[in-house]
């Protein structure tokens, strides 16, 4: 079974802090994704990557950046955390470009 591991289950950060969310997958998947999940809004795509060092903006990239230095690891960076970035963050990967996504358990981030 594919495993997608997010480094933290819960995080509490202060406004203005730089925040790193880490995601690792163990099945050599090409594609990796970061979503945020908010009540009533479903999942919204922040960034995705289809290859090492490649990244594409999703629908809500503002205030975020990403890094993919190795195939198995995809990091989401909040350059200067703000309270409106309080959310559940979900990392996912897919084997090829249109296969089903495999999700991590999520990181619930609170920015105070």
């Amino acid at each position: 079974d594919v495993k997608v591991t997010q480094s933290s289950r819960y995080l509490v950060k202060r406004t203005g802090e730089k925040v790193f969310l880490e995601c690792v997958q163990d099945m050599d998947h090409e594609n990796m994704f970061w979503y945020r999940q908010d009540p009533g809004l479903g999942l919204r795509l922040i960034y995705f990557s289809y290859d090492v060092k490649m990244k594409e903006k999703g629908d809500i990239p503002e205030g975020y950046s990403v890094s993919r230095e190795k195939k198995e690891r995809f990091s989401l960076i909040l350059e200067s955390a703000s309270t409106n970035q309080t959310s559940m963050y979900l990392c996912a990967s897919s084997r090829v470009y249109n296969s089903p996504l495999h999700f991590g358990n999520g990181t619930r981030l609170t920015v105070t």
């Binding site: 795509l45 979900l90 996504l101 999700f103 991590g104 999520g106």
Partner: protein
């Protein structure tokens, strides 16, 4: 802009009853996905529907796809408490110029099955 709409957003139903969740999307898509999310857990893939008229079934859940109407349905037969979860549909979209592929999710349907 691709929009994916699910309805209802909330559904409370009695055990043993049947019901359908609807997923409408606004533009041509590569394929349609259904996921389940249990409370406090992450999303788990249920079905992938590839073409018009596709139907897939697992247990009490059956998903279908009508690409002409841009509509997918998730039908629940004789609901049981264990089906209580949030169900998401997602649409796959290819961007020909960049060759990239995005998964766009609906807002989710929160299902509660009452004993």
């Amino acid at each position: 802009e691709l929009k994916v709409e699910q309805n209802p957003l909330f559904l409370s139903m009695q055990e043993g009853k049947n019901y359908t969740i609807y997923c409408n999307y606004s533009t041509t898509s590569d394929r349609l996905y259904w996921y389940r999310q249990d409370p406090g857990k992450s999303l788990e893939s249920l079905f992938v529907l590839l073409s018009n008229g596709a139907v897939k079934q697992e247990g009490r859940l059956m998903a279908s796809l009508d690409t002409k109407a841009r509509l997918s349905t998730l039908h629940i037969t004789a609901a049981v408490h264990d089906l209580s979860a949030t169900y998401f549909c997602a649409v796959g979209l290819i961007f020909p110029t960049s060759g990239t592929y995005k998964y766009i999710f609906g807002t989710g349907t929160r299902l509660k099955v009452l004993a």
